[in-house]
């Protein structure tokens, strides 16, 4: 810690890596991809460490979730492109967990703010307060977005 209470990046590295990896793995289900996302998230955090403040975890989680969702979308587009080129050949194997596929696909259909809220709360394990801070909104707004997102996810996932 320095005089301002900010943790040194090296000291926070292990914790932040685990946070970013867990969030990324929950979306991608790939150790290799999750590692890559965690490394990228930490590299970005390192490059702007002084501006992250005393609690960088929510920021790192948000970046990891966004990177993972971006990677997920790119993979999806690539898979669709490949299928189109092979003229309706059998779909390539996706992530191994069907429930995860359904969840992430359902999340992709959510409005942006609801998707971010759910990703940070349930995939990043952030509290409502941390999610509010990471998104720059109030806790009440987080609760509202979460409730609406959950209702829609339950409907889409057939619960």
């Amino acid at each position: 810690m320095d005089r301002t209470g900010t943790e040194h990046f090296d000291d926070a590295f292990d914790r932040l890596f685990r946070v970013a990896y867990r969030a990324a793995f929950r979306i991608l289900a790939s150790r290799e991809d999750a590692e890559d996302v965690a490394i990228e998230a930490l590299a970005r955090a390192s490059a702007r460490w002084e501006r992250l403040g005393p609690e960088p975890d929510p920021w790192v989680t948000r970046v990891a979730v966004n990177l993972a969702l971006d990677l997920w979308r790119r993979r999806g587009r690539a898979a669709r492109h490949d299928r189109a080129e092979r003229h309706a050949a059998p779909p390539p194997p996706g992530p191994p967990d069907a429930a995860r596929v359904d969840l992430v696909r359902a999340m992709e259909r959510l409005p942006r703010r609801q998707r971010q809220t759910v990703a940070l709360r349930y995939l990043g394990d952030l509290t409502e307060e941390q999610t509010a801070e990471a998104l720059g909104v109030s806790v009440g707004s987080v609760k509202q977005h979460t409730a609406r997102a959950m209702a829609r996810l339950r409907r889409d996932l057939g619960e």
């Binding site: 590295f13 685990r18 990228e40 490059a47 969840l103 349930y122 996810l153």
Partner: protein, 244 residues
């Protein structure tokens, strides 16, 4: 519902049962990517600064081209008689008034007529300006300068003046009215020293030009008047070949 995971979301087991421990390999890769991000950010900032400088330079150049000194020379009104350290108050009005009728004026006009660079390029005239030029960068559209207050011919400094601008004590950055000899590599007294023009002082050989002169840094001065801005170096400094 402030806990990390709510009870009402049936999450499948989606955590990695054996996540990799952060290692030196991860740290090294993070450091490498972080350096790349910082480099890229600096490059973007650098290019932004270069773009800004180019844009400003372009704007100044266009502005200077649009508002040429000759037009100002023709249209400029006499400078204010505000007492200043640049020009002693007594005689200032006379000097200013004498600008259009003094012996030096026809010479200047002749010099301007014979200098093709004095032709307004866009037909735009500088706004009628009164007073000393601003302390910022000169644009070539400064107000006309009155004649210098030196004891020499036409207001030139002859070395006997005890006070600025001929004598020592010039304030860096402040513009002083001076009378310059036209021509290339000409010398002038300023701040108690002799200075040599790096570039041509526009005007017919043997004539004088009333201009503003200021010391912009230790050992460097510039003047602006009919025909444009001229850089000056004190005698004793290495003066490059004059660029007419």
């Amino acid at each position: 519902m402030s806990g990390p995971v709510p009870d009402d979301l049936a999450l499948p087991p989606i955590d990695d049962p054996s996540p990799p421990a952060p290692s030196e390999r991860h740290r090294a890769e993070v450091a490498r990517r972080s350096s790349r991000i910082v480099r890229r950010r600096r490059a973007v900032r650098g290019s932004a600064v270069v773009t800004l400088v180019v844009a400003v330079s372009l704007g100044v150049a266009i502005g200077a081209g649009r508002v040429g000194p000759p037009a100002r020379h023709v249209t400029a009104s006499p400078p204010s008689s505000t007492p200043s350290t640049a020009v002693p108050a007594p005689g200032t009005a006379d000097q200013a008034a004498g600008r259009t009728g003094s012996p030096s004026s026809p010479a200047t006009a002749t010099a301007n007529a014979g200098n093709s660079a004095d032709t307004p390029r866009f037909g735009t005239v500088c706004p009628t300006a009164v007073g000393r030029p601003p302390s910022g960068p000169w644009t070539g559209c400064e107000p006309a300068a009155p004649r210098g207050d030196g004891h020499g011919p036409g207001g030139r400094c002859d070395g006997s003046e005890p006070a600025p601008p001929c004598g020592a004590g010039v304030v860096t950055g402040r513009a002083y009215a001076v009378t310059l000899p036209a021509g290339c590599a000409t010398g002038v007294g300023f701040d108690g020293r002799r200075w040599t023009a790096v570039t041509d002082v526009p005007g017919a050989a043997g004539s004088t030009v009333d201009a503003w002169m200021r010391q912009v840094a230790a050992g460097r001065a510039e003047s602006t008047g009919p025909g444009g801005t001229v850089e000056w170096l004190p005698d004793g400094a290495t003066v490059p070949a004059c660029r007419p």
